[in-house]
Symmetry: C2
Subunit: 321 residues, 2 copies
């Protein structure tokens, strides 16, 4: 479970920091020293409330044996007030739903360390900006297309949070003004309701139940329609899969155009399980769609995210700059 | 043509500045001193190219008799690179279409003064932030619904331009991912194609030509469908007017939601001829729509713009801070 290796691009991460990536299913903790990920710990996320979650994180921090004064950065899914160190809501973490939870303070009290907290997708975007696909780029949108659609925004080299912590939450931008599909949040017409894998599966199963032929059902078998299922169905020239993925692309174009004309960016960094699995044709098609739909004669580049599984923890360590 | 009066909220504007508001039909120049608009000049915009435009502006600046060291702020419609003092394109100003024009340098050379240049809607938003509806508010979107739909963005108390000068151009955000109406820019599905007065008139006339009954045509007579025409048709309970204005509202909700989840703001300032004429029911309806469609339990306030006809020139003077 412990590994030691060099992360070649991690030169900007200062020595002796701990990065914590809290996910819905697992927690990853990394000790980062200079340009090296010295050691990591990984375990499943407790589903028994905030106290157990904090206890697990604190134990894992101790386990990587950081220096006494090493600070801790934490990335966590959900709506985070970074300046206050509080998670407002996090549907995928047990015990954080209605009431805001001061995770930063809880971990700081238990460890005696300086702690920074941010949303997991913000952290992933920061990691790409500091160490990955967008090093040296001042204005970056990170968009991660997986089960849902997450986004993070770096403006002038710094993560943008906004007064309510909503900045970068582009999965909930509106890509149609005429009702539209229902989103995971319960509202209608949001980007995630067209481009997230969970929404795509729901729509595919509904179409199949209504009599539409598709290989998606057979390929998925008894499991979820994972990203590989969609890639295989496209390779088999499945009409429904093609239709839904094309609409996902169109929805992403609409959502990303709105970002570009709102705040303007140099580069869009694209990541997430579904986008990665659909691969280069999907990225090229998305980039082309954005530049065709943009009112100005300006070209916006869409680049692949470069960092892998450790990026959440390494990015969390970047919060401490 | 010369007037002297106190602009009570103008306290933040330092003494001895010139603000220039270049519009498609008129140019307004104001000498601003302390909290007073000392004097203004107004004339029609030359339609004979950039040289005549610059000559007219320079003459009007001299006419308001500024101190020798008084700097000049200029607001102009179109795509402006503020940092470079260049207008990339401006469909409504004669002589600025394909090639970028260095207006800042041209006026600076002709006057020997320090000159700042920005987009007219950015300037109007800045004016509301410094002197109007959003004084003391750090993150503000200004949205102006008139012939078209313009926007300006203040983040952390400063105008956001972005690396390509696209920031705040929310009239060209996408409010549908499925084709949609054609925009003034030639692309499809943009906000302005649903909520701008020119687009609304085009759609109303097309519906009428296709046999749809509406009082809009009679009220407009031989003229344009001005904002008052729409207000009268709504008052007469005209079905087509109601339908199109409701869709304009829905499109604005979609466009503004995308802004809020991209960058997050404290307040949205609403202005422009059409919005003002539709009045308080329109603002309330828009605000309600935004807060219903927003994924988070956060309330975003929509306030009326407060500044009147001089706001462009007074706001341009604010560029010099």
């Amino acid at each position: 479970m412990t590994k030691k290796r060099t992360t070649s691009k991690a030169a900007e991460v200062a020595a002796g920091r701990v990065g914590v990536d809290i996910g819905g299913t697992k927690i990853l903790v990394a000790l980062v020293d200079g340009d090296e990920v010295v050691t990591t710990r990984k375990r499943s996320t407790p589903r028994t409330g905030v106290d157990d979650l904090v206890a697990a994180v604190v134990e894992m921090i101790d386990d990587v044996e950081p220096a006494a004064d090493a600070p801790v950065g934490i990335g966590i899914p959900g709506l985070v007030l970074a300046d206050e160190g509080v998670v407002r809501s996090s549907p995928n973490i047990d015990g954080i739903d209605d009431d805001p939870v001061p995770i930063r303070q809880l971990v700081a009290d238990a460890t005696g360390r300086r702690v920074a907290l941010d949303n997991d997708v913000n952290v992933a975007t920061l990691a790409e900006h500091r160490l990955g696909a967008a090093v040296g780029v001042h204005n970056v949108l990170g968009v991660f297309v997986g089960t849902g659609v997450g986004g993070g925004l770096v403006l002038g080299g710094r993560l943008r949070h906004g007064p309510h912590g909503l900045a970068g939450e582009i999965g909930h931008s509106m890509v149609t003004h005429r009702g539209g599909e229902v989103c995971s949040c319960g509202r209608f017409g949001h980007l995630e309701a067209y481009a997230g894998r969970a929404a795509l599966e729901r729509r595919a199963r509904a179409a199949h139940d209504a009599g539409r032929a598709t290989v998606l059902i057979d390929i998925a078998g008894k499991g979820r329609m994972k990203s590989s299922v969609w890639a295989k169905a496209l390779a088999a020239d499945d009409e429904l899969a093609r239709e839904l993925i094309t609409e996902a692309r169109d929805a992403l174009v609409a959502g990303l155009i709105s970002v570009v004309v709102t705040v303007d960016v140099d580069v869009i960094v694209l990541g997430g399980g579904l986008a990665s699995r659909l691969g280069e044709p999907f990225r090229v098609d998305l980039e082309q769609g954005i530049n065709d739909a943009l009112f100005a004669d300006t070209s916006i580049e869409v680049r692949w995210a470069m960092l892998g599984d450790d990026s959440g923890a390494v990015g969390a360590a970047c919060l401490l700059d």
